[in-house]
Amino acid sequence: MSAGDPPVSSPEIRRLARVLEPGHSYASVTDKIASIVLTRPTSIGWLAGFGLAFTIMMVLMISIAWLIIKGVGIWGINIPIGWGFAIVNFVWWIGIGHAGTLISAILFLLNQKWRTSINRFAEAMTLFAVACAGIFPLIHTGRPWMAYYMFPYPTTMGLWPQFRSPLIWDVFAVSTYGTVSLLFWFVGLIPDLATLRDRATNKAAQIIYGMLAMGWRGSARHWHRYQSAYLLLAGLATPLVLSVHTVVSFDFSIAIVPGWHTTIFPPYFVAGAIYSGFAMVLTIAIPLRAAYDLQDFITMRHLENMAKVMLATGLIVAYGYFFEFFMSLYSGNKFDVFLVQQRLHGPYSHYYYALILCNILTPQLLWIQKVRNNVAALFVMSLVINIGMWLERFVIVVISLTRDFMPSAWGRYQPTFWDWSTFIGTLGLFTSLLFLFVRGLPAISIAEMRELVAHSEEHS
């Protein structure tokens, strides 16, 4: 137990406060985590899960192929609702991607020991979520093969991107975020890849992990620079993670559309991103620890702490909703006032009420410790919050676009089969990548778990 922990009395409280169950040694954490990748046979459950995820991913492939053949007309988008599902899903996925880097970078800088066993798969989740997010703006362009137009390259036409546009900022923010998250994840993996290389018994695994480990041998000189690079990356990723959803919110708030043009968007988008990201980490962590008996490493303390982060960020989001609402009325701007009325009584009001139920009301149950310590309740809660955050983006995109300044410009939006199949397909892509990751790479950082063991030995 770490030195900063509160004094503990009863065994039950002590059990709930642990970030690592007692009785583990360097070798036992190595064995336990590496065996998931190296020695355990592929289970029926894994095959069934991966098979299902892969099938759903094929739905994505078919949807994209059909989109490329027919064009974006297969979606429900129209004028004035040019954004529709593509942007709703983009913002939802990129938000989910925020928890990984938050856990890795911010909690690392704050010296939070409980990040150790959840950072690796949270970072992986970030990468996969960013991959899913990146698909949407790309295919939403209608001509994805022309997407390189968004990057500044010397063209024969003498054209350059418009650097005053938030959409171009977005290209840079998301691609930087993807790259830095990948670097962070890979740097963290290097020592563990060396462990897998040294423990692998079959030739192919030795060669693959050997190449990826790049000859890491745990030299003190290497660790010295490694630690300073890791710390610097954490320091760089911290403002980056806050900037990404800020820039995403600029896509909306720079525009003058009612309900979008507000200064509260950046902070409340960032809080919402962390909120949904932690919900997704819980959605993944709970089945993962059950499937691979990782309850010793991903303890109740982890689940409870994540629940607390969800509660806190959920309250920030609730504050954002409230002030969005209040400022619209207080401003007296008739378009803003009208938008609020449309949210409450318009054709999409049921989405708005569902959003309030999922994002604000249900999470209040997390004030109760019994709920925070109930694994099943947390799992359900995380799903509810994921749905709520999706609804939030739907409300923002669709209600504002269908009800802007002139009644003659109003419209309706109805997602089509292909909208849904593309969205559900990305869930398949995300889950397939997670299944492959859990089987091919250590889902928990082995080197950092050893540090935790060393730390708890010192204090016992």
Partner: protein
């Protein structure tokens, strides 16, 4: 009896705990050896200092700073050049040098430049990737990535003498003291 042969890399000793390794590293330094390195399955606090690796051995922060400055300055002035010189667009007479609009991309490129420099700088200074190393010839060294701690005195150290150094290593409680040879 034998003088160190050219393909002798050094002597490797094994320890069970980070504390033993730390003590051994201090004593090896005190005995005057300089060409030494320690190996651990996780970063051991205080080991760098025990081996005499100070801040000056660490160029990673400087490289990161330069990478960040390079990325940021390139990003800013590139946008300025594009928007004001190469492809100026007069939109209702608004200024061409609209610098606040260039800040998001400048920020992102600063972080990107710094991060890439931190990682690739760290790898380059560590001389990685390096698929082959004499230490990998030692079978027990596999446990350096699991649960054991190692200390190596390299043969190019002026004080290195195969037998005396081996005896010295046993004296500081190193177990399984092994000659590391580079078979080519």
């Amino acid at each position: 009896m034998n003088l160190p042969r050219p393909h002798l890399y050094g002597l490797l000793g094994e320890f069970d705990t980070p504390k033993q390794l730390l003590d051994a590293a201090k004593r090896v330094r005190e005995a005057g050896y300089r060409a030494i390195d320690a190996f651990a399955p996780f970063p051991v606090e205080g080991l760098s200092q025990a081996l005499g690796l100070g801040r000056k051995h660490d160029l990673v922060p400087l490289i990161t700073l330069l990478g960040g400055l390079g990325g940021g300055l390139t990003g800013f002035f590139f946008q300025l050049w594009v928007s004001a010189s190469s492809y100026p667009e007069n939109i209702a007479g608004r200024p061409l040098n609209s610098w606040p609009a260039f800040i998001p991309v400048t920020f992102e490129l600063t972080v990107l430049g710094a991060s890439l420099s931190a990682v690739f700088g760290m790898l380059a200074l560590n001389k990685l990737p390096q698929p082959h190393h004499p230490l990998f010839n030692v079978e027990r060294f596999k446990r350096a990535s699991n649960d054991k701690f190692f200390l190596c005195i390299e043969s190019h150290d002026p004080k290195f003498h195969l037998e005396e150094t081996a005896r010295f290593m046993q004296g500081i409680n190193a177990r399984h003291v092994t000659e590391v040879r580079d078979e080519d």
